[in-house]
C-alpha cells in the first residue's frame, strides 16, 4: 500500500496485528498436543521401540522428545510476548487520552441517538426533578456534570473509566509470569537427594546436568516414617530433618507431602522413599521353630550376639547382615547370616535372605529360622529446588485474576439524563447510557434508573 514504509515499520506492523496473536495461539494450542502424546524427556531406546528409526529422526529434528523446551516452541512464546508488547504500546498510545483525559467532556447528541434511550413524562417541577436525579446519579454513578439552560438541564455522569486498563493488566501479567519462568530457569535448580536415616548431606544431585549443587547448609535425616490407612494405601510420608550450619544444629523439623521446608531460598520436598541400601540393620526378631515338638519361639538378636537354644538344640550366633548373600554362586541380595553350633560340635552356616522368607526350610535341619521383623532402615527421597522467579510468577497470577475480573466484569459506563420543562409541574425526562462492553447490562441499568425515578 505505502511504498515509503521502512523495514522497521513493516516489522512493527507485523507484530501489532491481532491476526498474529490468533495464529500464534492456534499454533501453541495445536503443537502443545504433541507433547502430551509423545513421551517427554525419555531415553532414546524408548522412542526407537515405539516409533522406529524413521519417526525417531523426525522427533529428534523437532525436539519433540522435549518439545516444551524446543527452540521453535520457545520462539512461539517469544513471538507472543513481542506481539503483546507491541500491541499494548500501539493501543495505549491511542487510548491513553481516553483513559486519562485532561477534562471529561461529553457529546449530548451521541446519547440522544442511543437505542437504549428511555423517555417519559413526570408530573414534577423540572428543577426538583433535576435535583433528585442529580442525587441519584451521584450516588449510583459518580460526579455529575450539569449543564443548565432556562427550561432544560443535561446531566452527565460516568464511572469506571480506569477499567479500560484491565486488558493491559492481563497482558502484562502474562509477561510478568513468563519473566518469572525465565528467572527460574536461569538462576534456579531442581535437584534430588536421597538420605538414609541418620545420614547427612550438603548437596543435591541435578539429574538434567548430571552434576551436584551445594546448598550452603547440611541436612540430616533423623527419621523417616510411612503411615498407612487400614485399607493399605499410604496415608502419610514424613521425614524428620535437622538443618546443620557451620557444624552446629540449627533446627529440626518434620516435612510431609504438601508441607515442605523452605529455608534460605531453598525448598525441600518429601518426594519418595525406599529401603536403605547402604546402612545395615543391626537388630532383628527371629522366629525359631523346633521341628521335633513344632514349637516356635521369637528372639530379638543383635549382630554378634549368641544365644543358647532350648531343648539342647545348640548355640546360635548372629554373625552379620550381608547386602549380597552368596548362595552357591547366586546373589540372593540382602540377608542375615549366622552360625549354629550343635551339641555334638558340628557347625552349620545359616543364611536368611530377606527376599525368601522360608529359605531356611531347605536346610532340612531340626530347626527352622525365619526373619520375623527387622529394624529396617529407610532412605527418604527429597526433592530440592530453588526458584527465585516464583514470586514474579505469583505476582503475575494475582495480576491476571484481577485483570480478568476488571476486563470481564467491570466497564466504563457513561450516563446522560436530560430533563425539559413542558409545563409548570410537568417535565419530560430521558435517560440513556453507553458502555465499552456489555450492552445488555447497560439496558438493565437504564431500566433500573428509570424505575427508580418513576417511583419517586
Amino acid at each position: 500500500m505505502n511504498k515509503n514504509k521502512t523495514i522497521p515499520d513493516l516489522i512493527w506492523q507485523f507484530f501489532c496485528s491481532v491476526k498474529l496473536t490468533i495464529y500464534t495461539l492456534v499454533l501453541l494450542a495445536v503443537t502443545s498436543i504433541f507433547g502430551t502424546v509423545i513421551l517427554q524427556q525419555g531415553e532414546s531406546h524408548q522412542y526407537l521401540n515405539t516409533y522406529g528409526e524413521g519417526w525417531y529422526n523426525v522427533i529428534r529434528i523437532f525436539n519433540l522428545d522435549d518439545m516444551y523446551h524446543a527452540w521453535w516452541f520457545l520462539a512461539l512464546i517469544v513471538i507472543l510476548c513481542v506481539n503483546i508488547v507491541v500491541c499494548s504500546i500501539e493501543r495505549l498510545s491511542t487510548t491513553w487520552k481516553i483513559i486519562f483525559p485532561k477534562k471529561i467532556q461529553f457529546n449530548a447528541d451521541r446519547f440522544r441517538k442511543l437505542k437504549n434511550r428511555q423517555s417519559f413524562t413526570m408530573q414534577t417541577d423540572f428543577l426538583t426533578l433535576a435535583q433528585d436525579c442529580e442525587k441519584l446519579m451521584t450516588k449510583r454513578i459518580g460526579k455529575v456534570i450539569r449543564q443548565q439552560t432556562e427550561n432544560a438541564v443535561v446531566m452527565y455522569a460516568e464511572k469506571g473509566r480506569w477499567t479500560r486498563l484491565g486488558v493491559y493488566i492481563v497482558h502484562s501479567s502474562i509477561l510478568l509470569l513468563l519473566m518469572g519462568a525465565l528467572i527460574g530457569s536461569l538462576y534456579g535448580f531442581k535437584g534430588f537427594l536421597n538420605l538414609d536415616e541418620g545420614q547427612t548431606a550438603d548437596a543435591a544431585f541435578i539429574q538434567k546436568q548430571r552434576s551436584t549443587v551445594n546448598l550452603g547448609f547440611s541436612i540430616r535425616c533423623d527419621d523417616f516414617d510411612v503411615k498407612f490407612y487400614d485399607t493399605g494405601t499410604p496415608a502419610e510420608y514424613r521425614s524428620t530433618l535437622t538443618i546443620i550450619e557451620d557444624g552446629k544444629e540449627s533446627f529440626t523439623t518434620d516435612i510431609r507431602v504438601n508441607h515442605p521446608l523452605r529455608y534460605k531460598g531453598i525448598n525441600i520436598f518429601q518426594s519418595s522413599y525406599g529401603q536403605s541400601r547402604s546402612s545395615q540393620p543391626d537388630t532383628a526378631t527371629f522366629s525359631i521353630l523346633n521341628k521335633n515338638n513344632n514349637e516356635s519361639k521369637d528372639y530379638v538378636l543383635k549382630i554378634g550376639q549368641e544365644i543358647q537354644l532350648p531343648d539342647d538344640m545348640g548355640i546360635f550366633r548372629l554373625d552379620a547382615f550381608e547386602f549380597h548373600y552368596d548362595f552357591m554362586g547366586r546373589d540372593l541380595e540382602q540377608a542375615f547370616v549366622g552360625t549354629l553350633t550343635h551339641k555334638n560340635g558340628k557347625i552349620e552356616k545359616i543364611g536368611l535372605p530377606l527376599r525368601f522368607p522360608s529359605f531356611d526350610r531347605m536346610r532340612k535341619g531340626d530347626t527352622v529360622f525365619t526373619v520375623k521383623e527387622m529394624d529396617q532402615k529407610y532412605y527418604t527421597g527429597l526433592q530440592i529446588t530453588k526458584d527465585p522467579g516464583v514470586w514474579y510468577v505469583y505476582a503475575g497470577f494475582i495480576l491476571m485474576i484481577l485483570g480478568c475480573w476488571i476486563t470481564f466484569f467491570m466497564s466504563h459506563q457513561s450516563y446522560l439524563i436530560e430533563i425539559t420543562q413542558t409545563r409548570d409541574t410537568e417535565s419530560d425526562i430521558s435517560i440513556s447510557g453507553t458502555t465499552n462492553r456489555g450492552s445488555h447490562g447497560m439496558n438493565l441499568n437504564i431500566h433500573s434508573i428509570a424505575n427508580k425515578i418513576k417511583g419517586k
Binding site: V26, S32, Y229, N258, Q383
Partner: protein, 277 residues
C-alpha cells in the same frame, strides 16, 4: 438418608427436569418449562444434600475429606456446578427455553457417575499428595470453569438450531433471539475463562507446594492450557476481530471439546499426575 440415595435420586430428578424442558420446547408450552425449572431446583438441592452427606460420611469413616477426589465425586460436583450456574442464568435473564440444551448435560454428567459400571463410588481415604487446603479451591474453581463452558456449549447448539429467518414458525423459532444467545454464549465463556484461569493458577500454586514446581507440562496441565488457549482465541476473535454468530459458536464448540478431553480424555488415554480424577 445416605449420600448415595440422595445422589441417585438427584439423577432421576434431573432426568425429569430435562424431560419437562424438552417437552416445553416440543409442545410450545411455557408452563412445562416453568415446572422443569422447579424440578431442576429440587434436583439441585438434592444434589447439594448428597455432596454434604458424603462429606459428613467421610468424617464418620474417619477419613474426613472434601468429596472432590475421584471421578465419581467430580462428576457429581460437575452436575452441581452446571445446575447452580444454569439456575442463576435463568433467573437473571428470565428466559425459560434456554434450559432445553443445558438440562440434558446436567443429567448426563451425574448419570455417567451413577450408571457407569466401572465407576468406583466408594469413599476412599486421600492420598498424601491430595491432602491440602488447595484441593477444595482448585477443584471448585476448575469445575465452575467447566460448568461455564458446558452451559455455553448448550447455548452454542441452540444458536445453530435457531432459524436465522425471523418469520419461521418451527418449534425452534420459539428460542430467544440470536443476539441474546450470542450474548449468553459470551457471558458463559467469560465466566468459564475467569474460573479456568483461577483453577489453573490454584493448581499451579498447589503443585509448587507439593512438588516444588508450579508447572511441569503434565498432560492434564498442558490440556488445561490448550483449553485456555482456545477460549483466549475465542475472546480475541470476538472482541478484536468482530467475529459473531455461527463462526464464533464453532470456536465455542471446539473449546468444549478441549474441556471434555482435559476432563475425560487425559485420564483415560494419557498418564500423569491426575490419574485419580
Amino acid at each position: 438418608m445416605t449420600s448415595s440415595f440422595a445422589l441417585a435420586s438427584a439423577t432421576f430428578i434431573y432426568a425429569l427436569a430435562a424431560v419437562f424442558y424438552i417437552g416445553s420446547f416440543a409442545f410450545k408450552k411455557q408452563i412445562l418449562a416453568k415446572i422443569g425449572f422447579i424440578i431442576l431446583v429440587v434436583g439441585c438441592l438434592d444434589n447439594t444434600a448428597g455432596i454434604i452427606l458424603r462429606w459428613i460420611e467421610s468424617y464418620q469413616m474417619g477419613y474426613g475429606r472434601a468429596p472432590f477426589s475421584n471421578m465419581y465425586e467430580s462428576l457429581v460436583f460437575f452436575s452441581w456446578t452446571m445446575a447452580v450456574l444454569y439456575i442463576f442464568v435463568e433467573l437473571k435473564y428470565k428466559e425459560r427455553l434456554i434450559g432445553v440444551f443445558v438440562s440434558p448435560l446436567i443429567f448426563l454428567a451425574i448419570a455417567y457417575a451413577s450408571f457407569d459400571p466401572n465407576m468406583n463410588t466408594k469413599i476412599l481415604p486421600l492420598l498424601p499428595a491430595l491432602k491440602s487446603n488447595w484441593l477444595i479451591a482448585h477443584v471448585v474453581t476448575c469445575f465452575l470453569g467447566y460448568a461455564g463452558f458446558a452451559v455455553s456449549f448448550g447455548f452454542s447448539i441452540m444458536y445453530f438450531i435457531k432459524p436465522k429467518d425471523n418469520s419461521a414458525t418451527s418449534v425452534f423459532a420459539k428460542l430467544p433471539s440470536l443476539e441474546l444467545i450470542d450474548e449468553l454464549i459470551y457471558q458463559m465463556i467469560v465466566f468459564g475463562f475467569l474460573f479456568l484461569t483461577i483453577g489453573i493458577i490454584t493448581g499451579s500454586v498447589w503443585a509448587n507446594s507439593a512438588w516444588g514446581k508450579y508447572w511441569s507440562w503434565d498432560p492434564k496441565e498442558t490440556w488445561s492450557l490448550i483449553t485456555w488457549f482456545v477460549y483466549a482465541i475465542f475472546l480475541h476473535l470476538r472482541m478484536m476481530r468482530g467475529w459473531q454468530g455461527n463462526k464464533l459458536a464453532w470456536v465455542s464448540i471446539i473449546g468444549f471439546m478441549a474441556v471434555l478431553f482435559t476432563y475425560f480424555g487425559v485420564n483415560n488415554l494419557l498418564s500423569g499426575l491426575h490419574s485419580y480424577g
